[in-house]
C-alpha cells in the first residue's frame, strides 16, 4: 500500500507523519503508525480545540482535580469528594443506537470508578431529528433502551437529562452521558505508574477485534481475509462492568494498587502510554499475555482494539496475589502483562519479538496543536433579519400553548425516564421532571444537585451568547432547587473543525462559556469535545452541553418546581422583554429559526441565582421553576403539571410588550416562585437586598390556567386537559399502540 493511502486510512497528514519520523528517529511500522494515529486523533489529542479550551477557568478552592485526569474531582467537605464528567458517544450511537448508547454509559462509568469513586448518578443529554421521521424514532428507541439496559443493570440510577429535537440531528444524533461518583477524599486514584518494576495488570473482559480503526481492513496484507478482519461494533456487557466496578473499588479501598487507567477509546494503547507519560516512566508489555477472545489477532489489532469493560492496574509486585484473589472472588481474571520501566518508552513484545518501541512522551504529548482558521458564516447576518411586524399576532393562544406543550422538546419525557431505573441506590430525592435532579448523601445532611443543559439553536444564531446562556441556564436550574454551583463539566458537539465556519462557532461558544463561568465563579473540571458531527457536509447546529453540579446544605429537603398550596402567591423574578428570536414559538408556529437569541446580562443572572438560593435556604418559597424553552406561559403550565394536586393559577401581567413575546418569549434570567403570603415581606426584602427585580403576578388557584395581560384574557385552559396532552404526547408518537 502506498504511503498516501496508508496515511489517509489513519487520518494522519503528511506533516504529522514527518513529525512522527523526527520524534522516533525512523519510519514507524504499521503497529506504531496505528498507535500514533489513535493518540493523535482529534478525539484523543484535542489538537484543534486545545488552544480554545484554555480560555475556560479551571481552578477554585474546592477543586481537587481539574481537567487532565479521567474526571474532575471536587471537595464537598466532611472528607468527601465528588467525581464527575460527561462524554459523547455520538458516532457509535448513529451506527448502532442501542449498543452505541449502552457502551457510552459503560465508558463514562469507568471514567468515574477509575478515580476510586462509586458512581451514584447518571444523566443523559440526547438530540435527535424530528420524530415524524421513522428512522429518528428508531434511533431514539434504540438509544434510550441502550442507556436503560446498561445503567439499570449496573445499578446506577439515571436521574435526569434532557432531550431535544431538531432537523440537523437527523443524520447525526447526539448522545452525551454524564456520570457522578462519590469518593472518600483520602482514597482518590489517578493514572500513575509509580516506580520501575511495578506490575502492569490487565483486568476485565477479553480483547476482541471490536471497533478497531477502519485502517486494518484496507491495509494490503489483510486482503485475503477481509471479512475476518472487519472491525466489529462494540457490544456492551453491563454485567461484566458491574463485576469490574466492585472488584476495582475493592482493590482500591484496600490500597492494593498504585495507579489505574481505564481502556477507553484507544484501548490498550491509550492506557499504557498515558500512565507512563504521566509518571515520566516507561512501560513494557507482552501481548501474548493479553487475554484474547478471538484467534489470530495481530499486535496492531490488540493494541488498537476498543473492546469494552477493561482496565489497566499498576501495582507493586508483592500485591499482585492479593489483587488476583479479589478479582477471582468476582469471577474475573487479573493478568500481569508487563511492567513499568525507566526507559520512558512504550515497548511491546509479541511472540518473542519487539513490535513497538516508541517514546511515550511523543505519543501522548507531542501531537501538533492547531490554531485552525475561523470565519463567521456567510449567512450569519441574514440569520438575524427578523421583522416582528410580519408575525401574525392574531392567534388563539390556548392553541399555541397546547402546541408548545405537546411538542417533543417540551412534552413530558416520562416515556424516556420510565425506562431508566432512577431510584436504585435510594438517594434520589428529586426524580426526573424537576429543574435539576437532587440526591441525598447518606450519612450526611448534604444534597447534590445536577443538571444538563444546552440550547443549540441559540448557539447557531449567536454562538457567544449561546455559550453564555448554556452555562447560565444550567446554573439557574441548580439555583431553582436551592443548590450552589460547585463545578461544571461540558461536552462540546460541533461539525468539522477544518471548516473555518465551524471553528468560529466553536471558538465563540467557548469564549461565551468561559465568560459566564468566570462571572458565576464556577470552574470547569473537565469535559469532552466531539467534532465531525456532520453527514454529507451538513453539520449539526453547534451544541454545547453543560453539566452543572451543585451542593445544597442546611435544608431538610430541596425546592421543587410544582405548585404546592392553593392561594400561594406567584412571583416573577427577573424582567420581561420583547424577545422572540430563537424561540421554540417561532420554530413551531412560523417555521422560523431566525433573529437574535435572547440577550443575557450575566450580572443580573448572577444576582438571581444568589437570591434564589438564599430564599430557598431561608425556607421562604414553596416552589421555584426557571423560565426557558417556551417562555413564561410554558413555565407556569409546568408548575401546574408538576404540582401533586395539579393546582391551576391566575396571573395578570402589565408589561406593555407583544402578547406572544410575553407568553412565549425566552428572555433569560427569570424564575417563577410560589410562596405563602406570610413570607412575602421577607422575600421582597431579600430581593431588594440582592438587587433582583420581583413582582407578584398572581396566585395559585383552582383547576384552570388563566393568563391575563393588563386585564385581557390570553389563555384559559383546564389544567387536567392540558396535563394529559403534555404527559402523553411523546408516548403517543413513540408507542402508538
Amino acid at each position: 500500500m502506498i504511503l498516501e493511502d496508508l496515511l489517509r486510512e489513519h487520518n494522519l497528514t503528511k506533516y504529522e507523519y514527518e513529525r512522527i519520523i523526527s520524534l522516533i528517529g525512523r519510519e514507524p511500522n504499521l503497529t506504531e503508525l496505528g498507535i500514533f494515529s489513535l493518540m493523535w486523533s482529534e478525539h484523543c489529542s484535542y489538537k484543534s480545540s486545545k488552544i480554545h479550551l484554555q480560555k475556560l477557568p479551571t481552578s477554585g478552592p474546592q477543586i481537587i482535580q481539574g481537567p487532565g485526569e479521567n474526571a474532575g474531582v471536587v471537595d464537598i467537605g466532611d472528607e468527601m469528594a465528588i467525581v464527575f464528567k460527561i462524554e459523547s458517544h455520538n458516532h457509535p450511537s448513529f451506527i448502532e443506537p442501542f449498543q452505541g448508547a449502552a457502551t457510552g454509559v459503560g465508558g463514562i462509568l469507568r471514567d468515574i470508578f477509575t478515580m476510586g469513586a462509586r458512581p451514584i448518578a447518571l444523566l443523559d443529554s440526547l438530540r435527535f431529528g424530528p420524530l415524524t421521521v421513522s428512522k429518528n424514532r428508531a434511533i431514539m428507541e434504540g438509544v434510550v433502551s441502550g442507556i436503560s439496559s446498561y445503567g439499570n443493570s449496573v445499578g446506577v440510577p439515571t436521574v435526569g437529562g434532557e432531550t431535544f429535537f431538531h432537523p440537523s440531528y437527523s443524520h447525526n444524533p447526539l448522545v452525551n452521558v454524564f456520570c457522578l461518583g462519590l469518593v472518600n477524599k483520602g482514597k482518590i486514584f489517578y493514572a500513575r505508574a509509580g516506580s520501575p518494576g511495578n506490575a502492569v495488570i490487565y483486568v476485565g473482559a477479553k480483547t476482541g477485534r471490536d471497533g478497531i480503526h477502519g485502517a486494518t481492513m484496507a491495509s494490503a496484507e489483510f486482503d485475503s481475509q477481509v471479512e475476518k478482519k472487519r472491525p466489529n461494533v462494540q457490544v456492551g456487557d453491563p454485567f461484566m462492568e458491574k463485576l469490574l466496578l466492585e472488584a476495582c473499588l475493592e482493590v482500591m479501598d484496600k490500597g492494593l494498587i498504585v495507579g489505574i487507567q481505564d481502556m477507553g477509546a484507544a484501548g490498550l494503547t491509550c492506557s499504557t502510554t498515558e500512565i507512563a507519560a504521566k509518571s515520566g516512566t516507561g512501560i513494557r508489555i507482552n501481548l501474548d499475555l493479553v487475554p484474547q477472545r478471538e484467534e489470530g489477532m495481530t499486535p496492531y489489532e490488540i493494541m488498537l482494539s476498543e473492546s469494552q469493560e477493561r482496565m489497566l492496574l499498576i501495582a507493586r509486585p508483592e500485591n499482585v496475589p492479593e489483587i488476583q484473589k479479589i478479582f477471582a472472588k468476582w469471577d474475573l481474571d487479573a493478568v500481569v502483562i508487563g511492567e513499568i520501566t525507566d526507559s520512558q518508552k512504550l515497548e511491546v513484545f509479541f511472540q518473542g519479538k519487539k513490535v513497538v518501541d516508541v517514546p511515550v512522551e511523543a505519543v501522548v504529548n507531542l501531537c501538533p496543536v492547531y490554531d485552525r482558521p475561523s470565519r463567521k458564516p456567510e449567512n450569519y447576518d441574514f440569520l438575524h433579519h427578523l421583522d416582528y411586524n410580519s408575525l401574525d399576532q392574531a392567534q388563539n393562544f390556548n392553541e399555541v400553548l397546547l402546541s408548545l406543550i405537546s411538542h417533543p422538546n417540551i412534552a413530558n419525557k416520562e416515556w424516556i425516564f420510565r425506562q431508566y431505573d432512577h431510584m436504585v441506590q435510594t438517594n434520589t430525592v428529586l426524580l426526573p421532571g424537576a429543574d435539576a435532579a437532587v440526591l441525598r448523601i447518606k450519612g450526611s445532611k448534604k444534597f447534590l444537585a445536577m443538571t444538563l443543559d444546552g440550547n443549540g439553536l441559540y448557539c447557531y444564531l449567536d454562538p457567544r451568547t449561546g455559550g453564555k446562556i448554556a452555562v447560565a441556564e444550567a446554573c439557574r436550574n441548580l439555583a431553582c432547587v436551592g443548590a450552589k454551583p460547585l463545578g461544571i463539566t461540558n461536552c462540546l458537539n460541533f461539525g468539522n473543525p477544518e471548516k473555518p465556519e465551524i471553528m468560529w462557532q466553536f471558538s465563540e461558544v467557548v469564549t461565551g462559556m468561559a465568560e459566564a463561568c468566570r462571572y458565576f465563579d464556577v470552574p470547569v473540571t473537565g469535559g469532552n469535545v466531539s467534532f465531525y458531527n456532520e453527514t454529507e457536509g451538513k453539520p449539526i447546529i453547534p451544541t454545547p452541553v453543560i453539566g452543572a453540579v451543585g451542593l445544597i446544605e442546611g435544608l431538610s429537603q430541596p425546592c421543587s418546581p410544582g405548585f404546592k398550596n392553593e392561594g400561594d402567591l406567584i412571583i416573577l423574578a427577573g424582567a420581561n422583554k420583547e424577545e422572540l428570536g430563537g424561540s421554540l414559538y417561532l420554530q413551531i408556529m412560523f417555521g422560523l429559526e431566525k433573529g437574535w437569541p435572547p440577550e443575557i446580562d450575566l450580572e443580573a443572572e448572577r444576582k438571581l441565582h444568589l437570591f434564589s438560593i438564599e430564599a430557598i435556604r431561608r425556607n421562604l418559597v414553596e416552589s421555584a421553576h426557571d423560565i426557558s424553552e417556551g417562555g413564561l406561559a410554558v413555565a407556569l403550565a409546568e408548575c401546574s403539571f408538576l404540582s401533586d394536586k395539579r393546582f391551576g393559577f391566575l396571573v395578570n401581567l402589565e408589561d406593555r410588550i407583544r402578547p406572544d413575546a410575553l407568553l412565549f418569549g425566552e428572555t433569560q434570567s427569570r424564575i417563577v416562585f410560589s410562596l405563602k403570603k406570610e413570607n412575602f415581606l421577607a422575600f421582597a426584602q431579600l430581593a431588594a437586598q440582592k438587587e433582583v427585580p420581583i413582582k407578584i403576578i398572581g396566585q395559585v388557584q383552582g383547576k384552570r390556567m388563566l393568563f391575563y395581560q393588563s386585564g385581557n384574557l390570553l389563555i384559559d385552559l383546564k389544567v387536567e386537559e392540558a396535563f394529559d396532552i403534555w404527559k402523553n404526547s411523546l408516548e403517543k408518537i413513540l408507542s402508538p399502540f
Binding site: M240, D331, Q419, V429
Partner: protein, 232 residues
C-alpha cells in the same frame, strides 16, 4: 431479628435493603455471599433486586444455582422466612421455592415508577401489619415482571390464598389499566403454601423514608420483625 441480605454477582439493591434494615430499622443485618454455604444464623433471608448474572438467559435463572441457594432452600423448607424482591422473586421462581414464571413486561419496556398494590392476604408473616385490602405505594423497576402461571397453579394459588399483592389503582381497584406489566390477574406478589416464602416485584426498600416519597414499604419489614417478636 437477624436479617441476611444475599449478594449475587449483579445484585444491585443489596445495599439499599441492608441500609433500610440496619440504619432505619436498627436490626442486626448481614450480607450473605452467594458462593458461601453459611447463612450466619439469620432469622430472615432477603434476596434483593438487581440483575444477577446480568439477567442473561432468563432473570434469576443462573443465580439459582449459587451454592448458597442450597442452604436457602433448606432453610425455607424448615419454615425460615425468605423474601425475594424483584430479581429475588425471579430467583425464587427459578429455584422452585415459588411457583410460576416471569415473562417480559407486556410493552417490552423496562418500567421504573411508583405504583399501587393491594394487600390481598395480611395473614402471612410479611404482611401482618397491613390492613386487609390496604393500598401501598411502592416503586417498581423491572423488565421481566409479567407474572405467569398455568391454570392449575393459578387455581392453587387462589385456593390457598397465596396471592399476596395485586397491582391496583390508587383507590384499590384491580383493573387492566393498573396492570402495568401485564401480569396474570394483576399479580404482584405471591407466597408459598405455608406463607414463609414471599416473592414480590415492587421494591419495599425504596419506600422506607418520607424524603424519598413513601414509607409504605416499611410495613413489610415491620411485619417481619413483629412476627418474630410474636413467636418468641
Amino acid at each position: 431479628m437477624k436479617f441476611g441480605v444475599v449478594v449475587f454477582p449483579g445484585s444491585n439493591c443489596d445495599y439499599d435493603t441492608y441500609y433500610v434494615l440496619k440504619e432505619i430499622l436498627n436490626q442486626p443485618t448481614f450480607f450473605l455471599w452467594h458462593k458461601d454455604h453459611d447463612l450466619k444464623g439469620v432469622d430472615c433471608v432477603i434476596l434483593p433486586g438487581g440483575f444477577s448474572y446480568g439477567d442473561y438467559l432468563r432473570s434469576g435463572a443462573i443465580a439459582r444455582f449459587s451454592p448458597l441457594m442450597e442452604e436457602i432452600i433448606e432453610f425455607a423448607q424448615k419454615g425460615g422466612l425468605v423474601l425475594g424482591i424483584c430479581n429475588g422473586f425471579q430467583i425464587l421462581l427459578e429455584a422452585g421455592l415459588l411457583e410460576g414464571a416471569m415473562l417480559r413486561n407486556k410493552k417490552l419496556k423496562f418500567l421504573c415508577q411508583t405504583i399501587s398494590i393491594r394487600v390481598e392476604n395480611n395473614k402471612i408473616p410479611f404482611t401482618r401489619e397491613a390492613r386487609p385490602g390496604q393500598v401501598l405505594r411502592i416503586p417498581i423497576a423491572h423488565f421481566d415482571g409479567n407474572y405467569y402461571a398455568p391454570p392449575e397453579i393459578l387455581d392453587k394459588l387462589k385456593k390457598n390464598d397465596q396471592i399476596i399483592f395485586r397491582y391496583c389503582t390508587e383507590t384499590g381497584e384491580i383493573n387492566e389499566e393498573a396492570n402495568v406489566n401485564g401480569s396474570i390477574e394483576n399479580i404482584a406478589g405471591i407466597s408459598n403454601t405455608s406463607g414463609n416464602v414471599l416473592g414480590m416485584m415492587p421494591h419495599p426498600e425504596r419506600a422506607a423514608e418520607a424524603l424519598l416519597g413513601s414509607c409504605d414499604g416499611l410495613i413489610i419489614f415491620k411485619s417481619i420483625i413483629n412476627f418474630q417478636k410474636s413467636i418468641i
